[in-house]
């Protein structure tokens, strides 16, 4: 039993005083306070901030212990609090970001490495079988196409919602390979919920015989592998996240399915996606994955994109929408479920 009076509490929005303490402690550990944090844990000994850690969805990050308290296993206390918090929220599988030099501490505390970007960041997960299970799931989903030999390619899409533009890209890519693995981003941060996006993609692509549909899960463009896809971050951070996401894809996920190529549509409009394309072009070939950009499908001199669909949706311009989306998408948008999405879109616009 120790003499310290230790007090742990979670706060959602640190006031300026607390924020200064947190940033100072993080700075001491060579870290910065990130922008997408839901809750921050403060562990105080007496009046002084001795340790901190933060939660962003199913990610634990910004974990630091003050130098003078490093010998009393405060990391154990932080992690216990953060882990219990995740379970309380119903997240049984979660991740953490740390620096490679701290990997050993978290290995001791039961986290398994998912992927490491040399000298910059390691992604770790609490479920030692998390990534294994995902790879098994991918193989299971591909069972019907396993006997097909030849070139396996891939596309990762968000499809918010799927348009004829996506479909054009998918069909084009499917033509150029023997098996096409199509991954739908799982992170639920888009206007259309994951379930809807996935279902519409499934319906709209059902005619493509050499296609296997997968969920991106936590391992492809997710809050864990690529948080800056969803939030504004500095160029440097986006770069690190992209290296993590693409490294994991090309070194671990692609080999599990024999994937040797990745396709993407060119992106004249969205800066985040066009930047991601640029990084794919740079990074993927280094890992032995061919990267191909396919020119956007256009109608009326304008690229067909999900954002164009959403714009029309806001104006309830269903006749324009009909021209640029597959019938699965149109039928959904015209239904009462679609009405709910329009409401959501209007609210978000205000």
């Amino acid at each position: 039993m120790d003499d310290y009076q230790i007090n742990a509490e979670f706060i959602e929005k640190p006031d300026s005083g607390a924020m200064l303490e947190i940033t100072n402690l993080l700075k001491e550990n060579d870290l910065t306070f990130e922008t997408d944090i839901d809750e921050t844990l403060l562990i105080r000994i007496g009046d002084s901030l001795a340790a901190t850690g933060s939660i962003s969805g199913n990610i634990l990050k910004c974990i630091a212990v003050k130098k003078e308290y490093k010998n009393i296993n405060l990391t154990g206390s932080i992690m216990t609090n953060l882990i219990n918090r995740e379970y309380q929220k119903g997240n049984t599988d979660f991740f953490l970001f740390t620096k490679p030099k701290n990997k050993g501490i978290f290995l001791q505390l039961g986290f398994s490495p998912v992927y490491e970007v040399k000298n910059s960041v390691v992604l770790m997960e609490n479920n030692p079988l998390g990534l294994d299970n995902y790879l098994k799931e991918l193989k299971k989903e591909s069972r019907s196409k396993l006997d097909i030999t030849g070139k396996a390619a891939s596309i990762v899409v968000n499809c918010n919602p799927i348009t004829n533009g996506h479909l054009y890209l998918i069909e084009k890519a499917a033509d150029e390979c023997d098996v096409l693995h199509l991954f739908v981003v799982s992170e639920d941060r888009s206007l259309f919920p994951m379930k809807v996006r996935y279902q519409l993609v499934k319906e709209a692509t059902s005619h493509i015989n050499n296609l296997v549909l997968h969920k991106g899960s936590n391992y492809i463009i997710s809050n864990a592998t690529f948080p800056s896809y969803f939030i504004k971050e500095s160029k440097q951070i986006i770069d690190i996240h992209a290296r993590l996401d693409l490294g994991l894809f090309s070194e671990i996920i692609a080999p599990a399915l024999g994937i040797t190529a990745r396709f993407a549509g060119d992106e004249p409009l969205c800066p985040v996606t066009s930047n991601y394309n640029r990084l794919m072009k740079e990074i993927l070939p280094k890992h032995g994955i061919d990267f191909h950009i396919i020119k956007r499908f256009e109608t009326d001199g304008e690229p067909v994109s999900a954002s164009r669909v959403r714009k029309c949706l806001l104006k309830r311009d269903f006749s324009s929408i009909k021209k640029i989306v597959p019938s699965a998408t149109y039928n959904f948008l015209a239904s009462s479920e679609g009405e709910k999405i329009i409401e959501k879109l209007k609210k978000a616009g205000k």
Partner: protein, 300 residues
């Protein structure tokens, strides 16, 4: 030798490190807490931890006490089921307000004792009184059960109920403390004082120990091992007290053998209460280890 209950070390029931080391600080009792220090989500886990510790670890001579949750909380019944099996010396019931609270717990304990094949009354009880109603019912609580070995005051909830807060001199607790000691003495059981939570105020702590000793308490709950030594020191009779007590007992013996009715020690008339006090001081001195058992009669 009378059982000493000068210090009862408070151990949060879900803290594995503290549960493991609870006995190394040599408090007279340790109290494993399943109640306030354990969050609702961890009630089950703490119960398992304390259960396994009590059934596996050897706490030696130290009295083991478990503070269970109240029956109304929804956790109390399972606490009793598990703890009777685990067989601590004492189960401590929180927030006791009336004798009926004790009857209810007693019948549950008795049922489990029968299940386990223990003789009825194996597990002792202690009641914590933490409200004005409890304080006013102190005597009926103190006399409610043969199992009851003591009553304790819990001050934090009590002062809040009184619409006041704790002060340095503890004037707001004077009535409750006095009432509790009186009830305990009338029932022939122990009276135990509340915790002192300001660890940094050593002077205030010592003042409070002296106060409660003077009021007649047998001891105090402590929340940190650091607090054990001062309580033991203050509750241990001084050399002067022991010397005087020895003289009183000697005087009585001599008077008896001389068949003389009245004696005086150091010029003071010795009557029955003084003899009883001297006996108690020697008892306490022996239990505290400052006087070897049997030593006061070395002149025989």
């Amino acid at each position: 030798m009378a059982k000493l209950r000068r210090t009862m070390l408070y151990v949060p029931g879900n803290n594995a490190g503290m549960v493991k080391d609870a006995h190394i600080y040599r408090s007279d009792s340790v109290m494993f807490d399943l109640e306030d220090s354990v969050s609702i989500d961890e009630k089950d886990s703490a119960r398992f931890l304390v259960y396994k510790a009590l059934t596996t670890l050897d706490y030696g001579e130290i009295e083991t006490v478990v503070r269970i949750n109240s029956i109304e909380s929804g956790f109390g019944k399972e606490d009793i089921k598990a703890m009777v099996r685990a067989k601590p010396n004492v189960i401590r019931l929180p927030k006791t307000e009336k004798a009926e609270d004790i009857y209810e717990v007693e019948s549950l304990i008795e049922k489990e004792e029968k299940n386990e094949g223990y003789s009825i009354g194996t597990i002792k009880l202690m009641a914590a009184i933490e409200s004005p109603l409890g304080v006013l019912n102190a005597l009926s609580i103190a006399t409610s059960s043969k199992r009851l070995i003591g009553i304790a005051i819990g001050a934090e909830d009590y002062v809040t109920c009184l619409k006041t807060s704790r002060s340095e001199d503890g004037i707001e607790l004077l009535f409750a403390r006095s009432q509790l000691v009186n009830a305990a003495r009338a029932a022939g059981i122990y009276a135990l004082d509340t915790v002192y939570s300001d660890l940094s105020n050593e002077e205030g702590f010592i003042k409070e120990i002296k106060l409660i000793k003077q009021l007649g308490f047998d001891g105090k709950s402590v929340i940190n091992p650091r607090q054990i030594e001062p309580v033991h020191r203050i509750f241990t009779p001084t050399e002067d007290e022991i010397t005087f007590a020895k003289k009183v007992i000697e005087g009585i013996k001599t008077a008896k053998s001389n068949k003389s009715g009245v004696i005086a020690v150091e010029g003071k008339m010795v009557d029955k209460p003084i003899v009883e006090r001297a006996e108690r001081i020697l008892e306490l001195a022996k239990s505290s280890g400052v006087l070897e058992a049997g030593k006061e009669s070395e002149n025989d």
